[in-house]
């Protein structure tokens, strides 16, 4: 694959920045629309990008969100500096959440974030180091025939 056909962009997400929460996923979504990715894939990617972004805003100090787009796939890598996840298996269960009362009142932290990411991704990898941070790697495979 030639590098010419590869688009990489890195976005910064700040923990606790609810005012701008969602702006990275909006930018990612715009890029995917402009190059003509299938709407159903965009919809899944937008949900994943948003859930990942919200996880950073709610729990981490900051993170880098790297988008890499090639004709074959979309790849998101979200690496945060934060508390990390002690028990990933538990965190992957629907409904499990460590969100505060306030977050829940605002409609966040229903314990659907990570399960939702896994559900919408074609491939999903997660690794975490307690006290250091969490790394998510998410892939969407692009079927050339499905492009309009």
């Amino acid at each position: 694959m030639s590098e010419e056909n590869e688009l990489s962009q890195i976005f910064e997400i700040l923990g606790g920045d609810f005012g701008h929460a969602g702006s990275v996923s909006t930018k990612v979504k715009e890029i995917l629309k402009e190059v003509g990715i299938d709407p159903s894939i965009i919809r899944r990617a937008a949900i994943v990008a948003y859930e990942a972004e919200m996880n950073v805003v709610m729990y981490a100090r900051k993170a880098l969100f790297a988008l890499t787009l090639t004709p074959g796939q979309i790849h998101f890598k979200i690496e945060d500096e934060g508390p990390g996840i002690p028990d990933i298996e538990l965190a992957m269960q629907e409904g499990f959440s460590t969100a505060t009362e306030e977050m829940r009142e605002m409609g966040f932290g229903a314990g659907m974030g990570l399960p939702n990411i896994r559900k919408n991704a074609d491939r999903f990898l997660i690794s975490s180091l307690v006290g250091r941070g969490t790394m998510l790697s998410v892939y969407f495979f692009l079927n050339q025939e499905s492009r309009g």
Binding site: G22, E34, V35, G36, P39, A46, Y50, L142
Partner: protein, 458 residues
């Protein structure tokens, strides 16, 4: 790739002074200024009419029908948007407005609010059984439908498949009147009295690509003056009796939130104004608002009462409709369609759109994904070099769009005033190069330098 789209607005090249207000206000970046004249990119325009409202030169003209259109038909029926009632409120009630319309030259005037009421019930029925993704989005505003088709194609399945009251009414009128008078359906002219120009396109080019049952649209602002004089002689009915003929569900369609309020939907949202709608649609795309059942969205502020072809101040007409609803609630007047009849028709699929609304997403940067990615990368690189102040002097609405126009070879980089010094430097270097070359060629006779010096002394 290019496809012809009908649009309800036209740019008058004579009147356009290239003042760029439209350029900056367009929510879908569908306008460019080329050679000091505004031009429209047809594929991008969603007919919201924002440009119409800001043009200081009156160069953007809505294409509604003139009164003369009525003569094309044997029998004509006015179908006024409930927003027409909102212009008058409790002072002049619908029954008098309908009588006034008849005096203006229509053979009949139909109370669209009644059909709106039927459709409100049909929406209620639809939502009761609905199991799919949420929120279901109202399709009453053609601009919202087009915004989804163009910019949010992935939300297309959320649009409610129930047809709009104006189309259902027009279909009904044609069927009934043609039987009643022994005329062909095409001899019956149905004219929507519209608060906005976008309804005109939904007639000429329905979003679902079917055929509209309406034959034309007259603007509220064109009708208003003649209607006021026509209503002068109309016999007054008692206030109570006039009130009792108003369908409370139907008049709710004139204002944002009116459908949800009069249906008493518990879990619904109402939003108006394109910037606000875009925020809400972005949220839906992120997977939020999934717990909301129904979303009423209108491109004009406060709903149809805020249409660019209305007369009364938008907040005043909003208030007039609200007060009318409150009066009807207080008096416990419903005058609504029979819900059992609506349910019977609903079961027969009477309220549904004939066809599915298909998305029409903007063309990607390139049909080949590899090349599209490359172009997106170039766009980002160009954008990084631009001043990012979105001055619009280049004729594109903002720096990011300009970068795209450059990549798509629809604009040249030096059209950005901030790129001009760089362009000057290039040209200057080119000139110096040429000059040196000329000097070198002519070195034999060495005329250049000598003559130049001599000239100077003279």
């Amino acid at each position: 790739m290019s496809q012809y789209y009908y649009h309800s607005i036209r740019f008058d090249q004579e009147k356009c002074k290239g003042r760029m207000k439209c350029l900056r206000t367009c929510p879908t970046q569908a306008i460019r200024v080329r050679g000091r004249k505004a031009v429209m990119i047809e594929e991008r325009c969603i007919d919201c009419g924002e440009c119409l409202n800001v043009c200081p030169s009156g160069a953007i003209v809505p294409l509604t029908d003139p009164f003369g259109e009525l003569t094309r038909f044997r029998h004509t029926v006015a179908v006024p948007s409930p927003a027409l009632y909102a212009q008058f409120g409790r002072e002049i009630l619908p029954h008098k407005i309908l009588a006034g319309l008849k005096k203006l030259g229509f053979d009949d005037a139909f109370d669209l609010a009644y059909t709106c009421g039927e459709v409100s019930f049909a929406i209620q029925e639809f939502l009761r059984e609905y199991q799919g993704p949420k929120p279901v989005i109202s399709n009453a505003c053609p601009t919202v439908v087009r915004l989804i088709q163009v910019k949010y194609p992935d939300l297309i399945d959320l649009l409610i498949p129930v047809n709009t009251p104006r189309e259902i009414a027009a279909k009904n009128i044609k069927e009934k009147k043609s039987k009643q008078y022994g005329l062909a359906e095409k001899e019956i002219g149905t004219f929507y009295i519209t608060p906005c120009p976008v309804k005109m396109i939904s007639i000429k080019q329905p979003a679902e690509k079917g055929k509209s049952y309406l034959d034309g649209a007259l603007s509220i602002s064109d009708v208003y003056g003649p209607l006021l004089s026509a209503m002068e002689g109309v016999e007054k009915e008692s206030y109570r009796k006039a009130l009792e003929s108003i369908c409370i569900l139907g008049i709710g369609w004139a204002m944002v939130g009116g459908v949800c309020r009069t249906l008493r939907l518990r879990n619904s949202l109402a939003v108006s104004g394109l910037t606000e709608i875009i925020k809400v649609f972005d949220d839906i795309e992120r997977g939020r608002l999934r717990d909301i059942d129904f979303l009423e969205a209108y491109s004009c502020p406060q709903g149809c009462v805020g249409g660019s072809l209305t007369v009364e101040n938008v907040y005043s007409s909003y208030n007039k409709i609200l007060k009318l609803i409150e009066t009807l609630e207080f008096e416990k007047i419903k005058a609504c369609p029979d819900i059992r009849e609506v349910r019977r028709l609903y079961a027969q699929k009477y309220f549904f759109l004939d066809r599915k609304i298909e998305p029409r997403p903007l063309s990607p940067l390139d049909d080949d994904l590899g090349r599209a990615i490359k172009k997106r990368k170039q766009k980002e690189e160009i954008y990084e070099a631009l001043p990012k102040i979105d001055c619009g002097a280049c004729g594109s609405p903002d720096c990011l769009t300009f970068a795209e126009d450059v990549v798509m070879e629809k604009a040249q980089l030096f059209e950005c005033v901030f790129m001009l010094p760089e362009r000057f430097r290039e040209l200057f270097e080119e000139l110096i190069g040429l000059f040196n070359k000329a000097l070198f060629i002519n070195q034999g006779s060495r005329p250049g330098e000598k003559d130049y010096k001599k000239d100077k002394k003279d």
